[in-house]
């Protein structure tokens, strides 16, 4: 069969679907942070904006945004308050929501200046103990980002500098700035954001995945959240994600997202 025939078949199928109302013309209402590069931004320049556009286009839906900063209670204020239908870029299966199939898996990464030395790729790298290391800090009691826990388990706390998640600039940007100006030698940050700001830094920065630990993992599959009573919408999004796989991959590559193979996390990690 020629590819041209396939295209015809697909167009016919789409027309059929359209005619019979299985996929009606509708809005896909997306909640997103208005200023959270590289994920989302009000001008559409985030990679999640572009993936949302692909999904909406594939579903034949009009993409509508509701801008809501990622602050405390964001799920409650968005999906919970029926402000929107979907929330992009969430880890799988959070409480009170249902998630689509994952569309990428990334990981926390080590970032270092290229002129500082060979990239760090293990929490047991002895240079970590002798260096200033920056980590993001969550603004919630008794919680820690996975790499900070991995460091604490090794008793590495004295030389760790915390960067609060909340602030005027994205935390990954502040961490990369601190790395560039020598305030810290090593930092750990969530891969997509670290890679994005590393590429824009004033100095060359190496980015290397942090390995999963037995007690905690550093890599996470990312999906789209819908309300847990919206299974039809979730199914439609899943179909769109499958069909748009290659275009989504192209967006992720364009934004230098550190990618790991999709698939389940090791079973020992729930």
């Amino acid at each position: 069969m020629s590819s041209r025939f396939l295209e015809h078949a697909r167009a016919c199928a789409l027309a059929l679907l359209a005619c019979c109302g299985r996929v009606e013309s509708r809005d896909l209402v997306v909640c997103a942070d208005p200023d959270n590069l590289p994920f989302s931004r009000q001008d559409g320049s985030g990679f999640e904006n572009q993936i949302a556009a692909l999904v909406a286009q594939d579903m034949g839906a009009r993409l509508v945004y509701r801008w809501q900063p990622l602050r405390r209670g964001v799920v409650r204020k968005t999906l919970g308050a029926r402000l929107c239908d979907v929330l992009m870029g969430v880890p799988a299966d959070p409480a009170g929501t249902a998630t689509s199939i994952p569309y990428y898996r990334s990981t926390y990464v080590f970032v270092t200046r290229t002129d500082w030395g060979a990239p760090v790729s293990s929490f047991d790298d002895m240079r970590i103990r002798a260096s200033r290391i920056g980590v993001p800090l969550i603004g919630t009691d008794n919680a820690a980002v996975p790499p900070a826990s991995a460091l604490a388990r090794r008793g590495i706390v004295e030389n760790v500098e915390g960067f609060p998640v909340y602030g005027a600039l994205p935390v990954a940007q502040r961490i990369i700035d601190a790395l560039a100006n020598g305030q810290v030698d090593i930092a750990v940050a969530w891969g997509p954001a670290a890679a994005y700001y590393a590429r824009r830094a004033s100095v060359r920065i190496d980015v290397a995945p942090a390995p999963d630990e037995t007690l905690s993992r550093e890599s996470f599959a990312i999906a789209i959240a819908v309300r847990d009573d919206a299974s039809d919408l979730r199914d439609a999004i899943n179909n769109a994600l499958r069909r748009e796989r290659s275009r989504i991959d192209a967006v992720l590559t364009e934004y230098d997202i550190p990618l790991l193979p999709l698939g389940r996390a090791p079973s020992s990690l729930r």
Binding site: R72, R76, V90, P91, I138, D141, N142, G162, P164, S216
Partner: protein, 602 residues
């Protein structure tokens, strides 16, 4: 009046007039000393706690156990705001001033007119962004009055002085950054022409402080940080803590790993009291943050403790850390009530402090010595306080380890008692503690937080404590360190208490009942159902008509009431810091609404 030779006052009458004046002024000064408030009128209620000692005791005794059953609604006033109304109304010179939760509108009501019509209103228009930052509803805990001015704190970190007579803005000063997680929910305290304010936001890596502003200009006079080097904490030669554990140089740095003190919490969002004789102010600092406890080894000074500071200079006199290296969110910001007690046959100037960690502390307020520390709720996170060393002994079974769920931690994070203030009657010598009976399951480390993506973690689940009742009002005898009587309530008692010279205690419930009980034995006397749950602070005042009134703001919310005021989905039990898990039924029992209720005898 014209002056003629005939009735011109003689030297003798002048001196008599002067003498009278001296006596009157002297009496006024005495009265002020005795009541210890910025208003000389005993019928007034000029600050949230009424007096500098934070007693919330009304010297008015017209309403008594024998007649309180006839108490009737006198007037009401809708605030137009439906979030948690935690504030106390204040009353000075025939005017009542109330402040709403965000957007922090101030109303002045004319008490000399029937129905207390609006005299003026003031809208500070705080930044909307602040709503998304506040940890536990967008509350405000009250105004303060001094020298013809009303002082207002806004959620977006402004302090504003208003002309009490007309509501005109005199100055405003911003000290804090909402984008860095700082907010302001506390009531200011005005002492000797200084407005004392602190910050909220220990959950966000904010560095805590207490600041004094010039009441006439809003100029910042000093700032005392809760962490960092001694020069920032205003610690010098006159710092003399009672216990060795609180002595040392630059403890605000050395009890933290690396530079963690810079974002270490210790915010100041609770109550401040003031002893005019010692010229010291007392207040507590919040929990350390925002690290997981494993990542901040050390005592984390000067968090979760009490400071005594020189009221003029802010310099620290003593500090006592109630919960060193806190793992449970046990802020020490609750009220310190200043009273005189007889201990071992000797009268002592003490402070009584019911803490979140579950103990009532009785301390010598000159020295910072702990005279007694006794649990007033079920406590299993610690086994006691060593009065020799001042150390709290933690129970190892409840300490956190990464990835381990620790069950049945008592008290839960809101503590044996949260911000809701107690009242103390010098007549009964009892402290009336409004509080909760909650425990929690807690996972030390949320291991799937992904920075930059929506966070929907689930780590803390709060549940009813032993016995199942979620709320208690405890009449505590600080001299004998025993409870005299206890009232059990189904819901957490998130309102303040008021006690009067008529020996009546008032408090509200989260489903809207406003109740009066006998101060001596806790017997139920009267109740009235308000429109929404009560989390405010009841007060009493004498109106221009000479009658005693009781006033309270109704309007559910705050941490415990956020499931209603914030429309939380209680299927996520970790919402509102785990509170949603234990407050799910509140949505069936009350609804939002902000309303002032004022009562009087017929």
């Amino acid at each position: 009046m014209t002056t003629t030779g005939a009735n011109r006052p003689t030297a003798r009458t002048i001196s008599r007039a002067a003498l009278c004046l001296i006596i009157v002024v002297g009496l006024a000064a005495l009265a002020q000393g005795a009541t210890n408030t910025p208003s000389s009128n005993v019928g007034d209620w000029p600050m949230a706690a009424r007096d500098y000692a934070n007693t919330r005791f009304s010297p008015l005794g017209d309403i008594s156990p024998t007649n309180v059953a006839t108490l009737k609604l006198a007037y009401t006033f809708s605030t137009g705001v439906v979030r948690g109304h935690e504030a106390a109304p204040i009353v000075v010179g025939g005017t009542m001033f109330i402040v709403t939760p965000y957007p922090n509108v101030v109303y002045a009501l004319d008490l000399s007119q029937p129905g207390a019509p609006l005299r003026w209103r003031f809208e500070p228009k705080p930044e909307a962004f602040a709503q998304g930052v506040a940890c536990c509803d967008v509350v405000n805990r009250g105004l303060a009055y001094a020298d013809g001015k009303v002082f207002l704190n806004t959620l977006d970190n402004q302090t504003i002085a208003l002309d009490a007579s007309n509501g005109k803005e005199l100055w405003r000063y911003r000290s804090g950054d909402i984008r860095a997680g700082e907010t302001r929910t506390m009531a200011p305290l005005v002492v000797k022409g200084r407005v004392l304010i602190g910050n909220s936001g220990g959950e966000y890596g904010v560095r805590g402080w207490l600041t004094a502003l010039d009441a006439s200009s809003g100029k910042e006079l000093w700032r005392a940080y809760s962490t960092g080097p001694d020069r920032d904490v205003l610690i010098g030669a006159d710092y003399k803590p009672f216990y060795a554990k609180d002595r040392g140089t630059n403890l605000g740095v050395s009890t933290w790993p690396s530079d963690a003190w810079k974002i270490g919490g210790g915010t100041v969002w609770g109550w401040i009291s003031y002893d005019a004789d010692l010229d010291l102010v007392y207040y507590g600092t919040s929990n350390p943050g925002p690290w997981n406890a494993e990542q901040r080894p050390g005592d984390n000074k000067f968090t979760s403790g009490l400071f005594a500071r020189d009221a003029s200079t802010g310099r620290a006199r003593w500090f006592y850390q109630l919960s060193p290296h806190d793992e449970f969110d046990y802020d020490a910001v609750n009220e310190s009530v200043l009273v005189e007690l007889v201990f071992d046959g000797k009268p002592r100037k003490v402070l009584v402090h019911p803490d979140r960690n579950g103990y009532v502390y009785v301390m010598d307020r000159s020295t910072g010595e702990v005279l007694s520390a006794t649990p007033f709720v079920s406590v299993n996170t610690s086994t006691g306080v060593d009065l020799e060393t001042g150390s709290l002994h933690y129970a190892s079974a409840k300490l956190q380890r990464t990835g381990i769920v620790v069950r049945d931690i008592c008290p839960a994070s809101p503590g044996g008692k949260d911000w809701q203030p107690s009242a103390y009657s010098p007549r009964t010598q009892l402290l009336y503690i409004p509080h909760q009976n909650l425990c929690q399951d807690q996972e030390a480390t949320q291991t799937s937080y992904i920075v930059g993506t929506p966070y929907v973690g689930s780590i803390v689940k709060i549940k009813p404590g032993p016995g199942g009742q979620r709320g208690l009002v405890t009449a505590w005898d600080p001299a004998s360190a025993k409870s005299r009587w206890v009232i059990e309530e189904d819901l957490p008692v998130w309102s303040g208490t008021l006690v009067t010279a008529g020996d009546v205690v008032f408090y509200g419930t989260m489903d809207g009942w406003f109740k009066a009980v006998d101060a001596k034995d806790g017997h139920f006397l009267w109740q009235f159902k308000t429109g929404s749950g009560i989390v405010g602070q009841p007060i009493s005042y004498r109106g221009p008509d000479g009658k005693q009134y009781i006033a309270v703001l109704s309007g559910v919310g705050g941490w415990a009431g956020a499931v209603v005021s914030g429309d939380l989905d209680t299927r996520d039990g970790s919402a509102a810091g785990g509170m949603a898990n234990v407050m799910g039924d509140l949505k069936q029992r009350t609804t939002k609404g902000g309303m002032l209720y004022v009562f009087a005898l017929p």
